[in-house]
Amino acid sequence: MFDRLASPTRFAAFAARAQGWVAGGAVLLILVGLYFAFFASPPDYQQGEAVRIMYIHVPSAWMALFAYGFVALMSAVGLIWRHPLAHVLATAAAPVGAAFTFVCLVTGSLWGKPMWGAWWVWDARLTSVLILFFIYLGYIALVGAFDEPTRGDRAGAILALVGAVNVPIIKFSVDWWNTLHQPASVMKLSGPAIDTAMLIPLLLMAAGFTALFFALLLVRARAELLARRVRALRLIEARGAAGAAEVRV
């Protein structure tokens, strides 16, 4: 299946067919998730209604890391097997990951103010996620900085792989350093330490955000493939015009 989809033309056709279904699934999951987040889950016994910020903050944090893992994996595939589609997918995913990281940072700030009394603290988790956001921005700028897309692909892929060291730092920052941000309560070996009524909206929103990531990935990858085709067609046109001018002279 992956061999078949590795052809950019076949991938574009598959993406065009799949994007509507994936986007529809995302909207459905998020709407059901929002219902549970606001109407079918209790206020926290300590945090009151402010706990509802969790249902976007935590899933967007997961997506920030998932998207970065995807960018790094595609970058590795692109560098090792020199497959252009892998680079296209990495380039398409990065802005989506940056958007989730931004949502995570701002909603965290809006949650931190009433709970910790501060919009921002230089805690290990917060700082490492801020660095993740800057790595995303650096990656996007670097890929776009070359006239020749293949050179931008390679430079960006190397940056993405170097930046991947930040991912385990983010994950374990709450265990390695004694910081203000609380440690994991869902993704832990002993099982989730969170009430089922709160786990349901959290997982629904996470599933919805994952579907949204893939829907946006398909749309953006198609756009990126077409952008590269536009560039190739313009080059042929320019060469054709130059050739015609030579003939005329």
Binding site: E49, A50, V106, V219, L226
Partner: protein, 58 residues
């Protein structure tokens, strides 16, 4: 209902958080679809401008 919107006194934090997520994620979705439409139009225009050459099979 006004109790719901008050969010137990945390309305000033809960609603901006959801509004921001909607703006950022909705914004990137809109921008992605628009960019796809623009690229599709560009490719169509460029391929139409090459009359003598057969169009590549899709």
């Amino acid at each position: 209902m006004s109790g719901f919107f008050a969010m137990g006194g945390y309305a000033a934090y809960v609603w901006p958080a959801y509004a921001l997520a909607l703006i950022v994620l909705g914004g990137i979705a809109l921008a992605s679809v628009r960019s796809l439409r623009a690229r599709e139009a560009e490719v169509r225009a460029l391929e139409a401008a090459r009359p003598r050459r057969q169009r590549p099979e899709r």
